[in-house]
Symmetry: C2
């Protein structure tokens, strides 16, 4: 079982590396974060704009998501002391770099989601996997 014959070049993934990925996933893997990042990748937005753009998110979740992103330095919050108050949210440089791996994930998604859904459907149908010659 030596790992020297593995044909996949990307198979350098080991325990510590998985922890790193899992760590990031713990922050962007929730229900709304990637949505907010995606919307904000178009440019700065105000609170209510985000609330409408994400569509389905509650105020609470939007606030929590934004706070989490700001906390991790992925988001910048700018308050204009006007009346009524105005707050702009925009991705930081760090936040913008995150779009790259997210795109990678997106490309995998559009290409393989059909296969995943088909597999899921087959699995639900009592696993008729007897497609072997």
């Amino acid at each position: 079982m030596s790992d020297t014959h593995i044909s996949v070049r990307q198979a350098e993934t080991s325990h510590s590396e998985c922890r790193a990925v899992a760590d990031i996933l713990a922050r962007i893997g929730d229900k709304w974060t990637v949505m907010v990042i995606g919307v904000l990748s178009h440019g700065p937005m105000r609170y209510n704009q985000l609330h409408r753009a994400v569509e389905g998110i509650s105020q609470r979740m939007l606030t929590l998501t934004l706070k989490g992103l700001e906390q991790d330095g992925l988001l910048k919050r700018t308050v204009y002391p006007t009346v009524p108050p105005r707050v702009d949210y925009q991705l930081t440089e760090l936040g913008l770099t995150l779009i790259v791996p997210l795109q990678s994930l997106y490309e995998w998604a559009v290409e393989n989601r059909p296969a995943m859904q088909a597999a899921r459907k087959k699995f639900a149908q009592n696993k008729p996997e007897t497609g072997l010659s």
Copy 2:
């Protein structure tokens, strides 16, 4: 607010794309899935091997994670009708392709996690963000 002047080339991310990413994240974004994938990227493994390799996972969570991966066609479960029973788990072709975007995420993680943790620390310290010129 036209999106024609956006300077970021990766900013093609729109609503539907975010949903695709969020959809994948809903399946691999949990606590253990990427761990299991990472371990299995080294080659096939048996149940107890996985249980030891992932380290910290309960039997229940391991079983559920494996079942989820198998359901989505990312994992193949092979049962050897011996005594005692032996079950091998290995990533499918589809599952192996998932390693690519995962690597992309990993590379981002190792490069930017320090910045994230620093930002998080600063945020906790009453946000001394006064680092402007």
